[in-house]
Symmetry: C2
Subunit: 201 residues, 2 copies
DNA sequence: ATTCCAACTGAGTACTCACTCGGCATTTTC
DNA sequence: GAAAATGCCGAGTGAGTACTCAGTTGGAAT
């Protein structure tokens, strides 16, 4: 691992755990085992470092979801929704520091003034919502999912997995105990309901 | 409004908009129109100020929800879930700075070391989840809601409204356009499904 | 062997921060 | 009306900050 990568790595962990403002360059330097000057040799400022971390997260997430989409088996849309939910949670577990960092307010405030930041965040957000939307759209066409607005349903699915990750991070509730109910609820929320006597027009 | 209240007010707004660390006492002083010393006359430290804000939020939220519970009309549980969702969103709109502050990571990190902070956050969290849980429990007993685990269902409802508030704050998606779908999805998620041929033991 | 250069160092710099403290003004108490 | 108390002020303090820069290192190129 190059020194630059080591800095990015340690910074991701520290920024996500302690916050951007609460992590000093001095602390990052000692954690990484380099001199302060080395950090500024590789990154032109602390904010630049954050942006490069964010770009790395974007690349990682887009790659992982591309892989997932390539490899996913042919299933009904409703089943793909379940898979997508589980994959999201799996990935959030694997990349926990990165996902935690994505939930920091600082990034979204920065996005107001920094176009690059905003671009990355939107790309990540769209990628995360898209896999749900794709699955919902598929489910609507194969009949496993009711006639719900796909994007909106996808956003609501996102709020739930995102909330679960948050519960885990904040220790407010044992998130793993919620996974099964999340899946079951999502299915009830989306599935085609077989009802008779609905003929009109 | 006393000076102390004015400080609490301005601090709530600044902390939620710019973040705790990114708001200096000097800025808070000029915003409020008092001297820096005045702030430390009323609050023994910046962290103490934050905790007093949090306590105020707790008191406000618990009072509002108590009022809501007192005044809510007799309805089926499923309908009360819808009312509760709408009331949550209404309150988050009314108390937007306070709700925004509640989403800051800083508070949850502070809660790890500060018992008072943790107590307040848990009280707020439980209060917010409880109204959903109560409605779900009622719905299960009046037959309008299926036999779902009440607490878990309530937590999932919470993730959705909380996510909507987040969308609004971050400007990622027009949250108001999601409200109708949120209600509809929640109903589908919870409602008793009339299915025949389900006799077993 | 010499030159060159990218990678790295860490003491130094200018600045911001939360917080203090001695004093001032007004109100309350006796 | 003296004394005490309360509310308030803002320059000052020391710790901590992001960032700079002159200088060192080690390896590759000539």
């Amino acid at each position: 691992m190059t020194r630059r990568e080591a800095i990015l790595d340690a910074a991701t962990r520290l920024f996500s755990e302690k916050g951007f403002k609460d992590t000093s360059i001095a602390e990052l330097a000692t954690t990484t085992g380099v001199a302060e000057g080395t950090i500024f040799y590789h990154f032109k400022s602390k904010e630049d470092l954050l942006l490069q971390i964010l770009e790395g997260i974007k690349v990682d997430i887009l790659r992982e979801f591309d892989r997932y989409i390539e490899a996913r088996p042919a299933k009904r849309g409703l089943d793909q929704v379940q898979d997508a939910l589980l994959f999201y949670l799996y990935l959030a577990g694997q990349m926990d520091s990165q996902f935690l960092l994505l939930q920091s307010h600082y990034l979204y405030r920065l996005a107001d003034t920094n176009g690059e930041c905003r671009t990355h965040l939107e790309a990540i957000f769209n990628c995360l919502v898209d896999i749900f939307e794709q699955a919902v759209l598929l489910g609507r066409s194969d009949g496993s999912i009711a006639d719900v607005p796909a994007r909106k349903a996808a956003l609501l699915l996102f709020t739930m997995v995102d909330g679960l990750v948050r519960f885990k991070n904040y220790g407010l509730y044992d998130a793993s105990a919620l996974v099964a109910e999340l899946i079951a609820s999502s299915v009830r929320m989306l599935q085609q309901q077989e009802k008779e006597g609905r003929s009109r027009s």
